[in-house]
Protein backbone atom coordinates (compact mmCIF):
# COMPACT_ATOMS: atom_id res chain seq x y z
CA UNK A 1 0.00 0.00 0.00
CA UNK A 2 1.42 3.38 -0.92
CA UNK A 3 0.95 6.17 1.61
CA UNK A 4 -1.19 9.30 1.31
CA UNK A 5 2.01 11.29 1.41
CA UNK A 6 3.37 9.36 -1.58
CA UNK A 7 0.16 9.94 -3.55
CA UNK A 8 0.44 13.67 -2.90
CA UNK A 9 4.10 13.63 -3.91
CA UNK A 10 3.41 11.79 -7.20
CA UNK A 11 0.51 14.13 -7.98
CA UNK A 12 2.81 17.08 -7.42
CA UNK A 13 5.50 15.63 -9.72
CA UNK A 14 2.81 14.99 -12.35
CA UNK A 15 1.42 18.54 -11.96
CA UNK A 16 -2.02 17.19 -11.09
CA UNK A 17 -4.01 18.93 -8.40
CA UNK A 18 -5.97 16.56 -6.13
CA UNK A 19 -8.83 17.27 -3.78
CA UNK A 20 -8.51 15.81 -0.28
CA UNK A 21 -11.10 13.04 -0.86
CA UNK A 22 -9.45 12.14 -4.17
CA UNK A 23 -6.17 11.42 -2.38
CA UNK A 24 -7.78 8.47 -0.58
CA UNK A 25 -9.44 7.20 -3.77
CA UNK A 26 -6.20 7.29 -5.75
CA UNK A 27 -4.31 5.74 -2.84
CA UNK A 28 -6.63 2.75 -2.92
CA UNK A 29 -6.70 2.39 -6.70
CA UNK A 30 -2.99 2.91 -7.32
CA UNK A 31 -2.17 0.47 -4.53
CA UNK A 32 -4.32 -2.28 -6.00
CA UNK A 33 -2.79 -1.76 -9.48
CA UNK A 34 0.73 -1.76 -8.01
CA UNK A 35 -0.05 -4.96 -6.08
CA UNK A 36 -1.07 -6.57 -9.35
CA UNK A 37 2.11 -5.34 -11.02
CA UNK A 38 4.19 -6.98 -8.26
CA UNK A 39 3.63 -10.15 -10.30
CA UNK A 40 6.53 -9.08 -12.52
CA UNK A 41 8.90 -9.86 -9.65
CA UNK A 42 8.30 -13.58 -10.26
CA UNK A 43 10.19 -13.38 -13.55
CA UNK A 44 13.92 -13.99 -13.63
CA UNK A 45 15.26 -11.08 -15.69
CA UNK A 46 18.87 -11.28 -14.52
CA UNK A 47 20.23 -12.15 -17.97
CA UNK A 48 17.75 -10.16 -20.09
CA UNK A 49 18.44 -6.97 -22.01
CA UNK A 50 15.53 -4.52 -21.83
CA UNK A 51 13.44 -3.95 -24.98
CA UNK A 52 12.48 -0.29 -24.97
CA UNK A 53 11.02 -0.31 -28.45
CA UNK A 54 9.72 -2.84 -31.01
CA UNK A 55 12.26 -1.67 -33.59
CA UNK A 56 15.99 -1.77 -33.13
CA UNK A 57 16.40 1.91 -32.37
CA UNK A 58 18.88 3.91 -34.35
CA UNK A 59 19.15 7.59 -34.98
CA UNK A 60 17.33 8.87 -38.04
CA UNK A 61 18.81 12.07 -39.38
CA UNK A 62 17.49 14.75 -41.68
CA UNK A 63 18.55 18.27 -42.51
CA UNK A 64 17.62 20.84 -39.90
CA UNK A 65 15.56 23.03 -42.21
CA UNK A 66 12.47 24.99 -41.28
CA UNK A 67 9.35 24.01 -43.22
CA UNK A 68 5.76 25.23 -43.15
CA UNK A 69 6.56 28.77 -42.18
CA UNK A 70 3.90 31.47 -41.84
CA UNK A 71 0.48 29.89 -42.08
CA UNK A 72 1.21 26.94 -39.75
CA UNK A 73 2.87 29.19 -37.20
CA UNK A 74 -0.22 31.40 -37.02
CA UNK A 75 -2.39 28.27 -36.55
CA UNK A 76 -0.20 27.24 -33.60
CA UNK A 77 -0.38 30.74 -32.09
CA UNK A 78 -4.15 30.74 -32.63
CA UNK A 79 -4.50 27.72 -30.29
CA UNK A 80 -2.63 29.45 -27.47
CA UNK A 81 -4.40 31.02 -24.53
CA UNK A 82 -2.57 34.33 -24.57
CA UNK A 83 -0.03 35.58 -27.06
CA UNK A 84 2.21 38.64 -26.99
CA UNK A 85 4.35 39.49 -30.04
CA UNK A 86 4.28 35.89 -31.28
CA UNK A 87 5.25 34.50 -27.87
CA UNK A 88 3.12 32.46 -25.48
CA UNK A 89 2.36 34.59 -22.46
CA UNK A 90 2.42 32.82 -19.08
CA UNK A 91 2.21 33.87 -15.45
CA UNK A 92 5.27 35.24 -13.76
CA UNK A 93 7.42 32.50 -12.23
CA UNK A 94 10.07 34.49 -10.41
Amino acid sequence: MISEKEVKHIAKLARIGLKEKEVKKFQKELSSILDYIEKLKEVDVSKVEPMFHPRATKNVFRKDEAKNKGEKISALLEAMAEVKENYLKVKKII
Binding site: A14, V43, V45, P50, F52, P54
Partner: protein, 473 residues
Protein backbone atom coordinates in the same frame (compact mmCIF):
# COMPACT_ATOMS: atom_id res chain seq x y z
CA UNK B 1 -30.53 4.12 -50.51
CA UNK B 2 -29.81 0.81 -48.77
CA UNK B 3 -26.46 1.22 -47.03
CA UNK B 4 -26.31 -1.92 -44.91
CA UNK B 5 -24.90 -4.22 -47.60
CA UNK B 6 -22.50 -1.69 -49.00
CA UNK B 7 -18.72 -2.19 -48.80
CA UNK B 8 -15.84 -0.14 -50.20
CA UNK B 9 -15.52 -2.57 -53.08
CA UNK B 10 -19.24 -2.47 -53.96
CA UNK B 11 -19.54 1.30 -53.55
CA UNK B 12 -16.58 1.81 -55.88
CA UNK B 13 -18.28 -0.32 -58.54
CA UNK B 14 -21.50 1.69 -58.25
CA UNK B 15 -19.58 4.96 -58.41
CA UNK B 16 -17.48 3.92 -61.42
CA UNK B 17 -20.56 2.64 -63.27
CA UNK B 18 -22.19 5.98 -62.45
CA UNK B 19 -25.13 4.23 -60.81
CA UNK B 20 -24.74 6.62 -57.91
CA UNK B 21 -22.98 9.93 -57.57
CA UNK B 22 -20.55 10.52 -54.74
CA UNK B 23 -22.72 13.47 -53.69
CA UNK B 24 -25.80 11.22 -53.33
CA UNK B 25 -23.83 8.62 -51.44
CA UNK B 26 -22.33 11.17 -49.07
CA UNK B 27 -25.71 12.78 -48.50
CA UNK B 28 -27.29 9.41 -47.75
CA UNK B 29 -24.68 8.69 -45.07
CA UNK B 30 -24.96 12.16 -43.53
CA UNK B 31 -28.74 11.85 -43.35
CA UNK B 32 -28.50 8.46 -41.73
CA UNK B 33 -26.05 9.80 -39.16
CA UNK B 34 -28.26 12.80 -38.38
CA UNK B 35 -31.26 10.56 -37.94
CA UNK B 36 -29.74 7.62 -36.07
CA UNK B 37 -26.66 8.83 -34.22
CA UNK B 38 -28.97 10.25 -31.55
CA UNK B 39 -29.22 6.65 -30.36
CA UNK B 40 -25.63 5.50 -30.95
CA UNK B 41 -23.50 8.60 -30.14
CA UNK B 42 -20.61 7.57 -32.39
CA UNK B 43 -19.66 11.06 -33.62
CA UNK B 44 -18.14 13.95 -31.68
CA UNK B 45 -17.98 16.27 -34.71
CA UNK B 46 -19.71 16.13 -38.11
CA UNK B 47 -18.07 17.53 -41.22
CA UNK B 48 -21.24 18.00 -43.27
CA UNK B 49 -20.26 21.00 -45.35
CA UNK B 50 -16.69 19.83 -45.98
CA UNK B 51 -17.84 16.32 -46.91
CA UNK B 52 -20.44 17.53 -49.44
CA UNK B 53 -17.98 19.98 -51.04
CA UNK B 54 -15.39 17.23 -51.40
CA UNK B 55 -18.06 14.89 -52.82
CA UNK B 56 -18.81 17.44 -55.56
CA UNK B 57 -15.11 17.64 -56.43
CA UNK B 58 -14.80 13.86 -56.67
CA UNK B 59 -17.93 13.69 -58.86
CA UNK B 60 -16.31 16.22 -61.17
CA UNK B 61 -13.13 14.17 -61.25
CA UNK B 62 -15.14 11.11 -62.28
CA UNK B 63 -17.11 13.08 -64.87
CA UNK B 64 -13.89 14.31 -66.45
CA UNK B 65 -12.64 10.72 -66.50
CA UNK B 66 -9.40 11.63 -64.80
CA UNK B 67 -7.53 8.87 -63.04
CA UNK B 68 -9.78 7.76 -60.20
CA UNK B 69 -7.95 6.97 -56.96
CA UNK B 70 -8.76 3.87 -54.95
CA UNK B 71 -10.93 5.46 -52.23
CA UNK B 72 -12.60 8.02 -54.53
CA UNK B 73 -15.92 9.02 -52.99
CA UNK B 74 -15.76 6.54 -50.10
CA UNK B 75 -17.29 8.07 -46.93
CA UNK B 76 -15.28 7.46 -43.77
CA UNK B 77 -14.88 8.49 -40.12
CA UNK B 78 -11.75 9.34 -38.15
CA UNK B 79 -11.09 8.66 -34.47
CA UNK B 80 -10.88 11.97 -32.66
CA UNK B 81 -7.24 11.55 -31.65
CA UNK B 82 -6.08 11.82 -35.30
CA UNK B 83 -5.66 15.34 -36.70
CA UNK B 84 -7.76 16.55 -39.63
CA UNK B 85 -6.74 20.08 -40.60
CA UNK B 86 -9.24 22.73 -39.53
CA UNK B 87 -11.43 20.31 -37.58
CA UNK B 88 -11.75 20.14 -33.82
CA UNK B 89 -9.67 17.34 -32.28
CA UNK B 90 -10.51 16.58 -28.66
CA UNK B 91 -8.99 13.13 -27.96
CA UNK B 92 -12.17 12.72 -25.90
CA UNK B 93 -10.81 15.16 -23.31
CA UNK B 94 -11.96 18.45 -21.80
CA UNK B 95 -8.39 19.66 -21.94
CA UNK B 96 -8.59 19.70 -25.77
CA UNK B 97 -12.26 20.68 -26.02
CA UNK B 98 -11.50 23.71 -28.21
CA UNK B 99 -8.40 22.50 -29.99
CA UNK B 100 -8.51 22.76 -33.78
CA UNK B 101 -5.96 20.72 -35.73
CA UNK B 102 -3.42 22.94 -37.51
CA UNK B 103 -2.45 20.21 -40.00
CA UNK B 104 -3.44 16.79 -41.37
CA UNK B 105 -2.04 13.60 -39.87
CA UNK B 106 -0.07 11.67 -42.52
CA UNK B 107 -2.78 8.96 -42.67
CA UNK B 108 -5.41 11.67 -43.23
CA UNK B 109 -3.34 13.28 -45.97
CA UNK B 110 -3.06 9.85 -47.61
CA UNK B 111 -6.76 8.97 -47.50
CA UNK B 112 -7.66 12.47 -48.73
CA UNK B 113 -5.29 12.03 -51.68
CA UNK B 114 -6.93 8.65 -52.32
CA UNK B 115 -10.29 10.45 -52.59
CA UNK B 116 -11.98 9.45 -49.31
CA UNK B 117 -14.74 11.68 -47.92
CA UNK B 118 -14.33 12.49 -44.22
CA UNK B 119 -17.79 12.58 -42.61
CA UNK B 120 -16.64 13.37 -39.09
CA UNK B 121 -14.66 12.56 -35.96
CA UNK B 122 -15.58 9.69 -33.68
CA UNK B 123 -15.80 9.25 -29.93
CA UNK B 124 -13.13 7.49 -27.85
CA UNK B 125 -11.97 6.89 -24.30
CA UNK B 126 -10.13 10.00 -23.16
CA UNK B 127 -6.65 9.95 -24.79
CA UNK B 128 -7.47 6.37 -25.94
CA UNK B 129 -7.22 5.10 -22.36
CA UNK B 130 -9.96 2.55 -21.87
CA UNK B 131 -11.75 -0.50 -23.25
CA UNK B 132 -15.38 0.63 -23.39
CA UNK B 133 -15.47 4.30 -24.56
CA UNK B 134 -17.07 5.05 -21.18
CA UNK B 135 -14.03 7.21 -20.35
CA UNK B 136 -14.93 9.82 -22.99
CA UNK B 137 -15.35 13.22 -21.32
CA UNK B 138 -18.34 13.93 -23.60
CA UNK B 139 -20.73 10.97 -23.82
CA UNK B 140 -20.92 7.19 -23.98
CA UNK B 141 -21.11 5.48 -27.37
CA UNK B 142 -23.62 2.60 -27.59
CA UNK B 143 -23.03 -0.74 -29.26
CA UNK B 144 -25.25 -0.75 -32.40
CA UNK B 145 -25.90 -4.49 -31.90
CA UNK B 146 -27.27 -3.99 -28.39
CA UNK B 147 -27.80 -0.48 -27.06
CA UNK B 148 -27.40 -1.58 -23.44
CA UNK B 149 -23.84 -2.68 -24.08
CA UNK B 150 -20.51 -0.95 -24.71
CA UNK B 151 -18.99 -0.86 -28.20
CA UNK B 152 -15.57 -1.65 -26.76
CA UNK B 153 -12.73 0.81 -26.79
CA UNK B 154 -10.89 2.90 -27.08
CA UNK B 155 -11.87 3.22 -30.78
CA UNK B 156 -15.53 2.60 -29.80
CA UNK B 157 -16.91 5.50 -31.85
CA UNK B 158 -15.10 4.34 -34.99
CA UNK B 159 -16.25 0.73 -34.56
CA UNK B 160 -19.86 1.76 -33.83
CA UNK B 161 -19.88 4.10 -36.85
CA UNK B 162 -18.88 1.26 -39.20
CA UNK B 163 -21.25 -1.24 -37.57
CA UNK B 164 -24.19 1.20 -37.70
CA UNK B 165 -23.57 1.90 -41.43
CA UNK B 166 -22.65 5.50 -40.78
CA UNK B 167 -19.59 5.16 -43.03
CA UNK B 168 -17.75 2.58 -45.12
CA UNK B 169 -14.58 2.56 -43.06
CA UNK B 170 -13.04 4.28 -40.09
CA UNK B 171 -9.55 4.88 -38.77
CA UNK B 172 -8.69 4.03 -35.19
CA UNK B 173 -5.57 3.69 -33.05
CA UNK B 174 -4.43 0.63 -31.12
CA UNK B 175 -2.08 0.81 -28.11
CA UNK B 176 -3.19 -2.37 -26.31
CA UNK B 177 -6.19 -3.58 -28.34
CA UNK B 178 -8.08 -0.37 -29.05
CA UNK B 179 -8.88 -1.29 -32.67
CA UNK B 180 -9.26 -5.06 -32.34
CA UNK B 181 -11.42 -5.27 -29.20
CA UNK B 182 -14.08 -2.77 -30.41
CA UNK B 183 -14.01 -4.43 -33.85
CA UNK B 184 -14.74 -7.72 -32.10
CA UNK B 185 -17.54 -6.16 -29.98
CA UNK B 186 -19.20 -4.52 -33.00
CA UNK B 187 -18.91 -7.48 -35.42
CA UNK B 188 -16.55 -5.81 -37.85
CA UNK B 189 -12.93 -6.18 -39.02
CA UNK B 190 -10.03 -4.30 -37.41
CA UNK B 191 -6.28 -4.37 -38.03
CA UNK B 192 -3.41 -3.33 -35.77
CA UNK B 193 -0.53 -3.15 -38.27
CA UNK B 194 3.12 -4.08 -37.63
CA UNK B 195 4.70 -1.31 -35.54
CA UNK B 196 6.18 1.32 -37.85
CA UNK B 197 4.32 0.43 -41.05
CA UNK B 198 1.82 3.28 -40.58
CA UNK B 199 3.03 6.80 -39.73
CA UNK B 200 1.99 8.12 -36.33
CA UNK B 201 2.51 11.76 -37.38
CA UNK B 202 -0.62 13.65 -36.36
CA UNK B 203 -1.82 10.97 -33.95
CA UNK B 204 -2.19 12.37 -30.43
CA UNK B 205 0.44 10.27 -28.66
CA UNK B 206 -0.52 7.95 -25.81
CA UNK B 207 2.35 5.41 -25.58
CA UNK B 208 4.69 5.98 -28.49
CA UNK B 209 6.40 2.57 -28.53
CA UNK B 210 2.98 0.83 -28.70
CA UNK B 211 0.65 3.16 -30.69
CA UNK B 212 -0.31 2.25 -34.26
CA UNK B 213 -3.08 3.60 -36.50
CA UNK B 214 -5.19 1.06 -38.40
CA UNK B 215 -8.45 0.52 -40.31
CA UNK B 216 -11.88 -0.64 -39.11
CA UNK B 217 -14.01 -2.02 -41.93
CA UNK B 218 -16.90 -4.32 -42.79
CA UNK B 219 -14.85 -6.88 -44.71
CA UNK B 220 -11.28 -8.18 -44.76
CA UNK B 221 -10.91 -7.06 -48.39
CA UNK B 222 -11.86 -3.49 -47.41
CA UNK B 223 -9.40 -3.64 -44.54
CA UNK B 224 -6.64 -4.53 -46.95
CA UNK B 225 -7.61 -1.70 -49.33
CA UNK B 226 -7.42 0.92 -46.56
CA UNK B 227 -4.21 -0.52 -45.15
CA UNK B 228 -2.53 -0.30 -48.58
CA UNK B 229 -3.45 3.41 -48.69
CA UNK B 230 -2.27 4.42 -45.20
CA UNK B 231 0.95 2.42 -44.90
CA UNK B 232 4.41 3.69 -45.81
CA UNK B 233 7.54 5.38 -44.57
CA UNK B 234 7.15 9.00 -43.52
CA UNK B 235 9.91 11.48 -42.81
CA UNK B 236 7.67 13.07 -40.18
CA UNK B 237 7.74 9.88 -38.07
CA UNK B 238 11.27 8.56 -37.59
CA UNK B 239 9.94 5.22 -36.29
CA UNK B 240 8.06 4.57 -39.53
CA UNK B 241 9.60 2.30 -42.11
CA UNK B 242 9.13 1.02 -45.59
CA UNK B 243 6.71 -1.92 -45.64
CA UNK B 244 8.63 -5.03 -46.49
CA UNK B 245 5.71 -6.98 -47.89
CA UNK B 246 6.23 -10.71 -47.70
CA UNK B 247 3.79 -11.63 -50.39
CA UNK B 248 4.54 -15.28 -50.95
CA UNK B 249 1.49 -17.11 -52.20
CA UNK B 250 0.36 -20.03 -50.09
CA UNK B 251 -2.58 -22.35 -49.68
CA UNK B 252 -4.56 -22.94 -46.52
CA UNK B 253 -3.55 -26.60 -46.55
CA UNK B 254 0.09 -25.58 -46.20
CA UNK B 255 -0.67 -23.28 -43.27
CA UNK B 256 0.51 -24.08 -39.76
CA UNK B 257 -1.70 -22.41 -37.17
CA UNK B 258 -0.59 -22.13 -33.55
CA UNK B 259 -3.10 -22.03 -30.71
CA UNK B 260 -1.44 -20.87 -27.48
CA UNK B 261 -2.52 -22.92 -24.50
CA UNK B 262 -2.10 -19.92 -22.18
CA UNK B 263 -4.98 -18.16 -23.94
CA UNK B 264 -7.56 -20.79 -23.12
CA UNK B 265 -7.66 -20.46 -19.36
CA UNK B 266 -10.08 -19.60 -16.62
CA UNK B 267 -11.80 -16.25 -16.89
CA UNK B 268 -12.78 -16.73 -20.51
CA UNK B 269 -16.50 -16.99 -21.19
CA UNK B 270 -17.48 -20.51 -22.24
CA UNK B 271 -19.49 -19.33 -25.25
CA UNK B 272 -16.55 -17.31 -26.55
CA UNK B 273 -14.24 -20.29 -26.19
CA UNK B 274 -16.67 -22.55 -28.07
CA UNK B 275 -17.13 -20.08 -30.94
CA UNK B 276 -13.35 -19.72 -31.32
CA UNK B 277 -12.79 -23.48 -31.25
CA UNK B 278 -15.46 -23.90 -33.91
CA UNK B 279 -13.71 -21.36 -36.15
CA UNK B 280 -10.37 -23.11 -35.65
CA UNK B 281 -11.99 -26.44 -36.60
CA UNK B 282 -13.18 -24.84 -39.82
CA UNK B 283 -9.57 -24.09 -40.75
CA UNK B 284 -8.59 -27.63 -39.84
CA UNK B 285 -11.26 -28.93 -42.20
CA UNK B 286 -9.83 -26.72 -44.94
CA UNK B 287 -6.56 -28.58 -44.46
CA UNK B 288 -4.56 -26.31 -42.17
CA UNK B 289 -2.41 -27.91 -39.50
CA UNK B 290 -3.39 -26.86 -35.98
CA UNK B 291 -0.65 -27.00 -33.35
CA UNK B 292 -0.84 -26.29 -29.67
CA UNK B 293 1.93 -23.85 -28.79
CA UNK B 294 3.13 -22.13 -25.65
CA UNK B 295 3.71 -18.43 -25.02
CA UNK B 296 5.01 -18.90 -21.48
CA UNK B 297 5.15 -15.22 -20.44
CA UNK B 298 1.55 -14.45 -21.41
CA UNK B 299 0.43 -13.88 -17.81
CA UNK B 300 3.02 -11.11 -17.42
CA UNK B 301 1.88 -9.11 -20.45
CA UNK B 302 -0.83 -7.17 -18.63
CA UNK B 303 1.27 -6.06 -15.61
CA UNK B 304 4.14 -5.31 -18.03
CA UNK B 305 1.84 -3.12 -20.14
CA UNK B 306 0.51 -1.27 -17.11
CA UNK B 307 4.03 -0.08 -16.33
CA UNK B 308 5.16 0.73 -19.86
CA UNK B 309 2.02 2.39 -21.27
CA UNK B 310 1.42 4.73 -18.28
CA UNK B 311 5.15 5.58 -18.12
CA UNK B 312 5.17 6.67 -21.75
CA UNK B 313 1.81 8.41 -21.28
CA UNK B 314 3.04 10.41 -18.30
CA UNK B 315 5.75 11.89 -20.54
CA UNK B 316 3.53 12.34 -23.62
CA UNK B 317 0.73 14.07 -21.70
CA UNK B 318 3.08 16.47 -19.91
CA UNK B 319 2.56 18.92 -22.79
CA UNK B 320 -1.09 19.60 -21.84
CA UNK B 321 -0.47 22.66 -19.74
CA UNK B 322 -3.75 24.43 -20.47
CA UNK B 323 -1.83 27.13 -22.33
CA UNK B 324 -1.04 25.91 -25.81
CA UNK B 325 -3.87 23.74 -27.06
CA UNK B 326 -7.04 25.73 -27.42
CA UNK B 327 -8.13 26.66 -23.90
CA UNK B 328 -8.83 30.38 -23.98
CA UNK B 329 -7.95 32.78 -21.21
CA UNK B 330 -11.42 32.79 -19.64
CA UNK B 331 -11.67 28.98 -19.58
CA UNK B 332 -8.48 28.49 -17.63
CA UNK B 333 -8.43 28.19 -13.90
CA UNK B 334 -7.64 31.44 -12.15
CA UNK B 335 -4.45 31.06 -10.15
CA UNK B 336 -1.75 33.12 -8.56
CA UNK B 337 1.20 31.52 -10.30
CA UNK B 338 2.12 29.16 -13.12
CA UNK B 339 2.54 26.07 -10.93
CA UNK B 340 -0.86 26.52 -9.28
CA UNK B 341 -2.34 26.98 -12.72
CA UNK B 342 -0.89 23.65 -13.90
CA UNK B 343 -2.26 21.85 -10.83
CA UNK B 344 -5.72 23.27 -11.29
CA UNK B 345 -6.00 22.92 -15.08
CA UNK B 346 -4.65 19.36 -15.20
CA UNK B 347 -6.52 18.34 -12.05
CA UNK B 348 -9.85 19.60 -13.41
CA UNK B 349 -9.60 18.94 -17.16
CA UNK B 350 -8.16 15.40 -17.14
CA UNK B 351 -10.65 12.63 -16.27
CA UNK B 352 -10.04 10.02 -13.53
CA UNK B 353 -8.54 7.28 -15.75
CA UNK B 354 -6.09 9.68 -17.39
CA UNK B 355 -5.00 11.07 -14.01
CA UNK B 356 -4.65 7.53 -12.66
CA UNK B 357 -2.38 6.49 -15.52
CA UNK B 358 -0.28 9.66 -15.47
CA UNK B 359 0.29 9.15 -11.76
CA UNK B 360 1.06 5.46 -12.17
CA UNK B 361 3.62 6.28 -14.88
CA UNK B 362 5.12 9.11 -12.85
CA UNK B 363 5.53 6.70 -9.93
CA UNK B 364 7.13 3.97 -12.07
CA UNK B 365 9.65 6.45 -13.48
CA UNK B 366 10.41 8.30 -10.23
CA UNK B 367 13.69 8.09 -8.36
CA UNK B 368 14.08 4.81 -6.51
CA UNK B 369 11.41 2.97 -8.53
CA UNK B 370 12.73 3.16 -12.07
CA UNK B 371 14.70 -0.08 -11.88
CA UNK B 372 12.13 -2.03 -9.89
CA UNK B 373 9.25 -1.10 -12.18
CA UNK B 374 10.10 0.47 -15.53
CA UNK B 375 13.37 -1.29 -16.30
CA UNK B 376 12.05 -4.65 -15.09
CA UNK B 377 8.94 -4.27 -17.28
CA UNK B 378 11.07 -3.54 -20.36
CA UNK B 379 13.03 -6.74 -19.66
CA UNK B 380 9.86 -8.79 -19.30
CA UNK B 381 8.76 -7.22 -22.58
CA UNK B 382 11.86 -8.67 -24.25
CA UNK B 383 10.84 -12.13 -22.96
CA UNK B 384 7.30 -11.72 -24.31
CA UNK B 385 8.72 -10.81 -27.72
CA UNK B 386 11.05 -13.83 -27.54
CA UNK B 387 8.06 -16.12 -26.88
CA UNK B 388 6.57 -14.99 -30.19
CA UNK B 389 9.90 -15.34 -32.04
CA UNK B 390 10.15 -18.94 -30.81
CA UNK B 391 6.52 -19.69 -31.72
CA UNK B 392 6.92 -18.35 -35.25
CA UNK B 393 9.74 -20.80 -35.85
CA UNK B 394 7.10 -23.54 -35.58
CA UNK B 395 3.93 -21.93 -36.96
CA UNK B 396 2.95 -19.36 -39.60
CA UNK B 397 0.16 -17.62 -37.69
CA UNK B 398 -1.35 -17.67 -34.21
CA UNK B 399 -5.10 -17.82 -33.54
CA UNK B 400 -6.63 -16.52 -30.31
CA UNK B 401 -9.89 -14.96 -29.17
CA UNK B 402 -9.79 -11.15 -29.46
CA UNK B 403 -11.58 -10.65 -26.14
CA UNK B 404 -12.16 -13.04 -23.23
CA UNK B 405 -15.79 -11.86 -22.96
CA UNK B 406 -18.77 -10.86 -25.08
CA UNK B 407 -19.59 -7.11 -25.18
CA UNK B 408 -20.40 -6.13 -21.59
CA UNK B 409 -23.02 -3.78 -20.15
CA UNK B 410 -22.47 -0.13 -19.27
CA UNK B 411 -21.16 0.31 -15.74
CA UNK B 412 -20.15 -3.33 -15.40
CA UNK B 413 -16.40 -2.69 -15.19
CA UNK B 414 -15.92 1.06 -15.03
CA UNK B 415 -15.73 1.26 -11.22
CA UNK B 416 -12.89 -1.25 -10.99
CA UNK B 417 -9.85 -0.28 -13.11
CA UNK B 418 -8.23 -3.72 -12.87
CA UNK B 419 -11.38 -5.48 -14.05
CA UNK B 420 -11.49 -3.16 -17.07
CA UNK B 421 -7.79 -3.74 -17.82
CA UNK B 422 -8.44 -7.50 -18.09
CA UNK B 423 -10.56 -6.83 -21.22
CA UNK B 424 -7.31 -6.42 -23.15
CA UNK B 425 -5.57 -9.54 -21.90
CA UNK B 426 -5.44 -11.19 -25.36
CA UNK B 427 -4.51 -8.11 -27.35
CA UNK B 428 -1.79 -6.43 -25.29
CA UNK B 429 1.16 -8.77 -26.00
CA UNK B 430 0.90 -7.94 -29.70
CA UNK B 431 1.59 -4.24 -29.03
CA UNK B 432 4.47 -5.01 -26.67
CA UNK B 433 6.07 -7.16 -29.39
CA UNK B 434 5.22 -4.75 -32.26
CA UNK B 435 3.42 -7.44 -34.29
CA UNK B 436 0.45 -7.22 -36.69
CA UNK B 437 -2.92 -8.67 -35.66
CA UNK B 438 -6.40 -8.68 -37.13
CA UNK B 439 -9.77 -9.26 -35.49
CA UNK B 440 -12.71 -10.47 -37.57
CA UNK B 441 -16.15 -11.85 -36.70
CA UNK B 442 -16.53 -15.65 -36.56
CA UNK B 443 -19.80 -16.19 -34.77
CA UNK B 444 -22.61 -14.84 -32.68
CA UNK B 445 -24.10 -15.76 -29.33
CA UNK B 446 -27.64 -14.39 -29.58
CA UNK B 447 -27.08 -10.91 -30.94
CA UNK B 448 -23.56 -10.60 -29.51
CA UNK B 449 -20.55 -11.21 -31.75
CA UNK B 450 -17.31 -13.11 -31.18
CA UNK B 451 -14.07 -12.01 -32.87
CA UNK B 452 -11.10 -14.20 -33.78
CA UNK B 453 -7.64 -12.66 -33.57
CA UNK B 454 -4.96 -13.67 -36.07
CA UNK B 455 -1.44 -12.71 -34.99
CA UNK B 456 1.45 -12.92 -37.45
CA UNK B 457 5.18 -12.20 -37.53
CA UNK B 458 6.23 -8.63 -38.39
CA UNK B 459 5.17 -7.63 -41.94
CA UNK B 460 2.91 -10.66 -42.46
CA UNK B 461 -0.22 -8.56 -43.09
CA UNK B 462 -0.78 -10.08 -46.55
CA UNK B 463 -0.82 -13.60 -45.15
CA UNK B 464 -3.18 -12.53 -42.34
CA UNK B 465 -5.57 -10.91 -44.84
CA UNK B 466 -5.57 -13.94 -47.14
CA UNK B 467 -6.17 -16.32 -44.26
CA UNK B 468 -9.06 -14.31 -42.83
CA UNK B 469 -10.62 -13.84 -46.26
CA UNK B 470 -10.91 -17.59 -46.76
CA UNK B 471 -13.23 -17.73 -43.73
CA UNK B 472 -15.46 -14.96 -45.07
CA UNK B 473 -15.99 -16.52 -48.47
Amino acid sequence: MELSNLTITKARELILKKEISVFELTKAYLEKIKKEDKKIFAFLTLNEKGALERAREIDEMIFEKREIPVLAGIPCAIKDNILVEGMRCTAGSKILENYFAPYDATVVKKIKEAGAIILGKTNLDEFAMGSSTENSAFFKTKNPLDLERVPGGSSGGSAAAVAADFCLFALGSDTGGSIRQPASFCEIVGLKPTYGTVSRYGLIAFASSLDQIGPLTKTVKDCQIVFEVIKGEDEMDSTSLRFESKNQSFEIKDLKIGVPKEYFVEGMEKEVEEAIKKAIEKYEKMGATILEISLPHTEYALPCYYIIAPSEASANLARYDGLRYGLKKGERSKSENLLEQYFKTRGEKFGPEVRRRIMLGTYALSAGYYEAYYLRAEKVRALIKKDFDEAFKKVDLIFTPTSPTLPFKFGEKIEDPLKMYLSDIFTISVNLAGLPALSFPVGKIGKLPVGLQIIGPAFSEQKIFQTAQVYES
